[in-house]
Symmetry: C2
Subunit: 464 residues, 2 copies
């Protein structure tokens, strides 16, 4: 608990460049902890971050560590991050977000569940073996970064660079950067990808006064609203031709699996605070969060977005929207479909303005085989610690690093969350329960043991 208190006390907010010294201190603290445990530790320089104004700032180093190097054993690499989302008491926190506070068995603080406690739980798992003077059943490596919350800046290049060195003998990658779906423990076998688009409509050469020019020009904002309105139906159906058609059909097996998952639709509805959800039965709701695409319009840049009543005709407006990717969608194809569709819709308007559509992120979905020995080992470990079967779940969000690990190393990946379903990652009053923290550590201890049982020569199959 003391380590978690120390870690949470550091405001390692990677989105705020003024907190960068804190972030550097955080990485040092992680490295020092692993060094004191006798690990072979490196702080890997991953270069600099370019800021919007053209200046640069040093990225937090990535910590790599190694415990054991017995070539006859499997080697796992635990990925985690110790940077956090922003948090201020004024945002609506009941307690100081950087002062770990224990209330009724819940440990409140920014970064507890996402992702400091899970990283510490893995460290405690290794320490437990050491404390009992037992040799580790598998070699354990750590790869801990400090830029996850802002897009893992610099990590892809680092992974590529270390493919044939630090990562060369890694057999399996373990990620514990997500949460359960209910009180039942879970293994996560899929994440959605994300294609993020900018649609820019440009007209006059500068912003115009709506009194003086209103009625004289076709306003870019009107055009942009017009084309955005063709993306989604009122009920949430995607209207871009080809998108829905590419989605892998829901199999009976999958339906059955979803049906068996423990998930309280009403609790979920109440948590979001909406009157009714897009789908009111469990299977449809989970399927649309995990294995169907969605379009979200995030906002518009260049228009008036402040309080007050500015009477401007914005000259250039850029909509930001994204489409969550699922098998068998292909970002390159989605890019073509969206671009072609928006341009054809725009052409019908006969507007004098110019449209530019760009895809700025094209992250593929990730999907693992739940029958893979890594997952089988996970089920056994969960059964051992919690005395129940795990839910096999997906994440609606994107964890691009899983896909990168898979594409670069070709190794198998498992996501083994220990965060609670109500931990409030990225929200106010983030917490991790003592129960999840302690039982989670036990799970990791058990899991290392189970992974050691996987036959070394067994042929592995993974959906890519």
């Amino acid at each position: 608990m003391w380590a978690l208190r120390d870690w949470v006390a550091i405001e390692s907010d990677s989105s705020n460049i003024q907190k960068r010294p804190e972030l550097h201190r955080m990485m040092e603290m992680v490295a020092q902890k692993l060094r004191l445990m006798g690990g072979t530790v490196e702080l890997v320089d991953i270069g600099e971050q370019e800021l919007p104004d053209g200046q640069t700032i040093t990225l937090p180093k990535v910590v790599t560590a190694q415990f054991g190097s017995d070539p006859s054993k499997h080697t796992v690499c635990v990925y985690g991050h110790v940077d956090v989302q922003p948090a201020k008491l004024e945002d609506g926190w009941a307690t100081d977000p950087y002062n770990l506070t224990d209330i009724n068995g819940n440990l409140y603080g920014r970064g507890t569940s996402d992702n400091k406690a899970p990283v510490l739980a893995w460290i405690h798992a290794v320490k437990a073996y050491q404390a009992l003077s037992m040799v580790l059943p598998v070699n354990v490596k750590f790869l801990i970064e400090g830029m996850e919350e802002t897009g893992s800046n610099g990590l892809d290049a680092m992974i590529l660079a270390q493919r044939d060195t630090f990562l060369s003998d890694v057999d399996y990658i373990i990620i514990s950067d997500c949460g359960w779906l209910s009180r039942r423990p879970a293994l996560t076998y899929g994440t959605r990808g994300n294609c993020y688009f900018f649609a820019e409509v440009e007209g006059p050469k500068q912003d115009l006064h709506s009194g003086v020019y209103g009625g004289a020009v076709i306003e870019p904002m009107t055009d942009l609203i017009g084309i955005l309105d063709t993306l989604i139906s009122p009920s949430g159906r995607i209207l871009i031709p080809g998108i829905q058609e590419a989605v892998a059909p829901l199999s009976d097996e999958e339906w059955k699996m979803y049906q068996d998952i423990e998930f309280d639709v009403n609790h979920f509805k109440n948590k979001t605070g909406v009157n009714h959800l897009m789908y009111n039965n469990k299977v449809d709701l989970l399927a649309h969060r995990w294995r169907y695409p969605t379009v979200s319009i995030h906002g518009i840049m260049g228009a008036f977005s402040d309080r007050g009543t500015k009477t401007v005709i914005p000259a250039k407006v850029t909509a930001k929207f994204s489409i969550r990717q699922v098998p068998d969608m292909d970002p390159a194809t989605v890019k073509k479909q969206v671009t072609h569709y928006l341009h054809s819709v725009f052409a019908k308007r006969k507007s004098p303005n110019k449209l530019k559509v760009t895809m700025v992120i094209g992250a593929k979905p990730w999907l693992a085989d739940t029958q893979h020995p890594l997952y089988e080992a996970g089920k056994v470990a969960i059964k051992r610690v919690f005395n129940m079967e795990p839910d096999l779940i997906r994440e609606g969000g994107t964890i691009p690093i899983a896909r990168t690990f898979q594409d670069v190393t070709g190794k198998s990946i498992i996501m083994m969350p220990i965060g609670g379903f109500d931990d409030g990652m990225h929200s106010q009053n983030e917490k991790m329960s003592r129960y999840n923290y302690i039982e989670g550590t036990k799970l990791f201890i058990a899991y290392l043991n189970e992974v050691a049982q996987i036959t070394k020569t067994k042929k592995l199959k993974l959906y890519i």
Copy 2:
């Protein structure tokens, strides 16, 4: 010229509260100038401004002054403002915006044309009579404010309070806070009003992650885009039932008047930088800027509007749009029409989200009779100074103070601009030409003389 240099040097930006001391100094400077000329001057306290954070800041005082009080003469009141729009060299100014710079006969500087030089021209006009030891042909009052650019905070109450005192003996109000349409001098006889709306769609109780919740909730942004898209057709037609129907038909007389106005459509098009305008002939273009309503969507508050790629589902989004008002529209009716229409369109979507429509500004249009003796006097004065007939023009924008003066005092108003058509009010490189400044002063001298000729008992007719 020296007075203008001193005035421009003061950064009297009323939108920036950090410049408030400058603004106070500006008002003092105006008062002092008028005092030195022997006027009866007051600095009228108009109270405080409430800031968004609940704090208050003192409003700049309003300067009132009086020259002459002969009850046998007409009394005119010149309204003007000495606050300015924001300006920074980095915005793209060729010269320091607060250092009056003379280049080829143009005086560059923030606030030159809007509205410091016109105010000074009026002061010079009074001085000219004094310099020639001539008595003023009419009593001249000044009412100079310092909050025009941010909505004339406090002025309505001040005008109401002074109706039976300072304003009681005023016969005519003169406003020179606009510009010509071409190189030909102009008199302005109308402005459009403005109904400014907020349309707020609220769904989840807080912003959601689009990965985790995308596909589970009907997003407020989708709903908002959907209803905004029903306001205007791609070609710019207003789709809200009842709006177009309320517009006074264009008379043959009006058409003829527009036809005779000097206006270069191509120059206007090039200035805006668009490929083609909404209307390509002079009459339609002018008519749609001046005497037809338009809808402009200014932006959306609550959505993501920064650079970058945030994956948020905004929980509450508020569109800001406004409808320019023309005779015979009525803001109270427009409010009902818009609210009813948006709610009916929204109801068809069967969304779980909540819509709230509010009209936050309801400014009526203003229209004067161009045959009114005040305008006839203006035509004669222009003929005398420039040796040509003025264009009779309107402003597409709103000058709410005209309407307030009219509603509170019941007195007649004339707008007599001296700013050039290309002065760039509110833009970078704002200027006033020496020519307009000097000839404008002459025009005001001549105009005071012409106003003195108006028969005191003549019955006046004004369109309200």
